[in-house]
């Protein structure tokens, strides 16, 4: 859809529309409205979050005792494989695409994404990926049990000998997820480059939009490499080619290069939008501009570039030559610099402000602190000699869960709370939100901090049983894990009951500065009655400048639904 004034667009009112009693039906259709698609992504992925979480509860149940006595070892191996795969491909990536889908057109003053139908197709591939992954539990031989990395030769072993086996289904699911993501990448990049409102120069574009752009560019250069590796793995598995099979002359380490060339930058695909959320949330609840906004914006794209050059740090123990390990150690440590710049910028944004500790702000602050902790363990892991001991131990598991849960999931929650009124037109219950925060923070630290210690003592990852000396750490971690499971309950309760009967939200409940706050809550189908013309840079807190031309006339009053 292009940015023409409303009068020139025929809007069919025969279908459900926001504000109408049957609006909920829109979420179960092949809607091309980015706002509907965004919410479809978010809700669908949250369901998979719960499924992936359930799998991890069983894993933590097994790990409460040193022996493998809860489930068969094949089941445990399937659990950790599917836990990782579901959490990454069906929760983290899609929920962030959902938030991006909802927010980017609004933040840039567009009526929709560049390719709305492609957008819908991208979304509907996600349930297909989910069905494939879950269906793999039902085939003979069970789901893939080779870890979410699917390293050959283990991933090629296929004990049942069947052509349709869990590993094949897994590869197909990941491939479809890749296609969905690449289509999304094309959509986001085109939208952000071509559809910003008049007056919105690059340095008047919100940091969240910059971060989504940076993340989607990574998807575009990285996913094809993963696809190439996956195609070759699939051929080895089904047809008997020799790309990675050592008994047929293949090189299993080459697979690792293909895999990590994408999968390392992939973690930046996950964390960059969360950085963007932090950049949006801190100014609002500190009532201060984003400190060093331009540098923060540019650092996102720098991370896109540098992150392409660090992947071998996952392979320091794999048999890579010494020069390669040292080279990638330098690049890995280098990527900490633009990241550190952001961290300091956020601290400087918060410092000296007028803080309001709403739930979104609490999650953002908690996420930032967790991120700093995990950044430090990350730098440790980047050092070759350090990694030789802790590689493939629970130290790594602790590190990346601090990033993924402690920073990314916290950031996602912050975003969901912050934009909940805009998306639903309702306010959430603040008290429940704070309870959710407290339980999540406690659960995160209790679950994932002990893992660092068991890792340093030498407990390998992915084990279904361990030596008794690791017992204490595992008991603590399991308690924390169960607490985390419980912590989702106040969130679910809050979201559901608030959406149904929460207090009606004004257009701008947080008095935030941004284009999305200059339209109704929720926005009309066409987002804005009139496309705004941007006249100021973002985050103008403390200055009394309007963000758009004729702001007083253009912004609808509260309570107006179109």
């Amino acid at each position: 859809m292009t940015n023409a004034p409303t009068e020139a667009i025929n809007i069919a009112r025969r279908q459900p529309y926001p504000g109408a009693p049957d609006n909920w039906k829109r979420f179960f259709t092949f809607s091309t409205d980015h706002k509907v698609i965004g919410i479809q992504y978010i809700v669908t992925s949250f369901i998979f979050f719960l499924i992936g979480g359930l799998l991890s509860m069983i894993m933590r149940g097994e790990l409460v005792t040193p022996e493998a006595n809860l489930v068969d070892r094949t089941i445990y191996n399937a659990l950790f494989t599917m836990h990782g795969s579901i959490m990454l491909f069906l929760w983290t990536f899609p929920v962030l695409v959902g938030l991006g889908n909802y927010l980017v057109p609004l933040m840039i003053g567009a009526r929709d994404m560049a390719f709305p139908r492609l957008n819908a197709v991208s979304f509907w591939m996600i349930p297909i990926v989910g069905i494939l992954m879950l269906a793999s539990f039902l085939v003979p031989g069970g789901p893939s049990q080779s870890g979410w990395w699917a390293y050959p030769p283990v991933s090629l072993q296929n004990p049942t000998g069947n052509l349709i086996n869990g590993q094949v289904l897994w590869i197909l699911a990941v491939a479809i997820s890749g296609v969905s993501s690449i289509m999304g990448g094309v959509n986001f990049v085109t939208t952000i480059f071509k559809m910003r409102a008049p007056g919105m120069t690059w340095f008047r574009t919100p940091a969240f939009v910059w971060s989504v752009l940076a993340a989607q560019l990574i998807q575009l250069y990285g996913l094809p490499a993963l696809t190439a590796g996956a195609v070759m793995l699939l051929l080895d598995l089904t047809v008997g080619t020799s790309f990675f099979a050592p008994e047929r002359g293949g090189n299993p380490i080459l697979y690792q290069h293909f895999f990590w060339f994408y999968s390392h930058p992939a973690v930046y695909v996950m964390v960059l939008p969360v950085f963007g959320i932090f950049s949006e949330v801190f100014p609002v609840y500190a009532r201060k501009p984003l400190f060093g906004y331009r540098v923060v914006a540019v650092s996102s794209v720098m991370i896109t570039g540098i992150s392409a050059l660090v992947w071998v740090h996952h392979m320091y123990a794999s048999g890579t030559p010494g020069w390669m390990r040292i080279l990638f150690m330098f690049t890995t440590l280098l990527v900490a610099v633009p990241t550190g710049v952001k961290v300091f910028a956020w601290v400087a944004t918060v410092w000296g402000g007028k803080l309001r500790l709403n739930t979104a702000m609490l999650f953002a602050l908690g996420g930032l602190v967790n991120f700093v902790f995990s950044g430090i363990t990350g730098v440790m892991l980047g050092s070759v000699p350090i990694d030789i001991h802790v590689n493939n131990t629970y130290f790594v598991v602790g590190h990346f869960h601090y990033v993924i849960y402690g920073a990314i999931v916290f950031g996602i929650y912050a975003g969901l709370y912050h934009w909940f009124p805009k998306m639903t037109g309702r306010m959430y219950y603040e008290g429940l939100g704070k309870v959710h925060f407290a339980l999540t923070l406690a659960g995160t630290w209790l679950c994932f901090l002990p893992m660092h210690f068991s890792g340093l003592m030498g407990m390998p990852r992915r084990v279904s049983s361990y030596d008794p000396e690791f017992a204490l750490w595992n008991v603590l971690a399991s308690l924390g894990g169960f607490l985390l499971g419980m912590s989702t309950l106040p969130f679910i309760l809050n979201m559901v009951s608030s959406w149904i009967q929460g207090e009606k939200a004004p257009n701008n409940p947080w008095k935030a500065i941004g284009l999305e706050w200059l339209t109704t809550s929720p926005p009309p189908v066409e987002n804005f009655e009139e496309i705004p013309t941007v006249i100021s840079p973002p985050y103008g807190y403390g200055k009394d400048e309007p963000l758009i031309a004729n702001q007083a006339e253009v912004v609808p009053a509260d309570g107006v639904t179109t």
């Binding site: 283990v154 030559p321 350090i386």
Partner: protein, 311 residues
């Protein structure tokens, strides 16, 4: 800046420094005993990084805590804070210092890596102009006694057992090493990727099928340690462990001689034992698994199931 601010910052920095040194001092207690020469270098490096990390983490966390406690908006104050959009000087500083810090960490790590002589594998990628890997025995460690001969032992990893072959062709499922001698292991895998990992040595090397990887280190402490398979290698990978016995040279020779006199018999193999038990279970079965390799037939196997070494 006024005197009060300078004083506050100085006290804060002093506190951070004390805390960092304390944490750095705690770091060695988080590890298994230092059983190899390399482990001493390792623990020192980790200690320093922990100290630096503590400084940064507490520095940021406490600043944020202060803001959260003392810089809240007044109850009915809806207004904005100061319109501070940046400060070039500060931003340059907080770019340059981290850049310098990571470069220093990378360089220092490289030096430790070199000194540890964590000699990587033989080049797997043989280019037409192969780069010679530096033999990293450049800086001899105190504990390495160069006049002692290097002991070469062959290690085979398989699904799911470790088999060791000694210079006199003795085989066992327990790794015996003479203390203070440099050890060179030749790592093989019979099937899939495995990981040779001895936490007490702080060393790990993935084992690749169809390749032989050389791996050198020096054990310096008599005792019994644990070898674990660190790279996920299939169903019973968690059970793929073995004991590592570091003993005096005399004890080592005595053990070798004793083992040479024993006829090879199948060793106790936890993976095989579990697999056979699982096949008998009918209540809740898992899925089909790759069958374990038959228990290794070796001269010496520990008499009972390997158990955890003392802390």
């Amino acid at each position: 800046m006024n005197i009060r601010a300078i004083l506050t910052i100085s006290i804060f920095v002093a506190f951070l420094t004390i805390a960092s040194f304390w944490v750095a001092g705690q770091a060695p207690s988080w590890f298994p005993p230092q059983a190899s020469a390399e482990s001493k270098l390792y623990d020192e490096l980790f200690s320093i990084l922990s100290g630096i990390g503590t400084f940064i983490f507490l520095g940021i966390a406490l600043v944020l805590l202060y803001a959260v406690l003392f810089q809240r908006a007044a109850k009915y104050d809806d207004g904005d804070g100061p319109s501070i959009e940046g400060n070039t000087a500060i931003e340059v500083i907080w770019t340059i210092i981290p850049l310098g810090l990571v470069l220093w960490i990378a360089t220092y790590s490289y030096q430790i890596y070199d000194t540890m002589a964590v000699r990587g594998p033989m080049e797997l990628v043989h280019l037409h102009n192969p780069m010679e890997m530096k033999t990293a025995l450049a800086v001899p460690l105190d504990e390495v006694k160069p006049q002692l001969p290097t002991e070469e032992i062959d290690v085979t990893a398989k699904q799911w057992a470790w088999v060791f072959r000694y210079p006199n062709n003795v085989t066992s499922t327990e790794l015996h090493l003479p203390v203070d001698h440099r050890i060179r292991l030749a790592l093989h895998s019979d099937d899939v990727l495995h990981g040779f990992y001895v936490p007490a040595f702080r060393l790990k090397q993935d084992v690749i099928p169809n390749k032989t990887i050389d791996f050198e280190f020096t054990p310096i402490r008599v005792g019994k340690y644990r070898l674990r398979d660190s790279l996920y290698s299939g169903t019973y990978f968690a059970a793929n462990q073995a004991d590592v016995v570091v003993e005096s040279a005399e004890d080592y020779d005595r053990w070798l001689a004793m083992a040479a006199n024993q006829t090879p018999t199948p060793a106790y193999n936890p993976a095989s034992a579990e697999y056979n038990r699982a096949s008998e279970k009918t209540l809740v079965r898992g899925w089909e698994s790759v069958p374990p390799a038959p228990p290794p037939v070796v001269n010496f196997a520990p008499k009972q199931e390997p158990t955890s070494p003392p802390a």
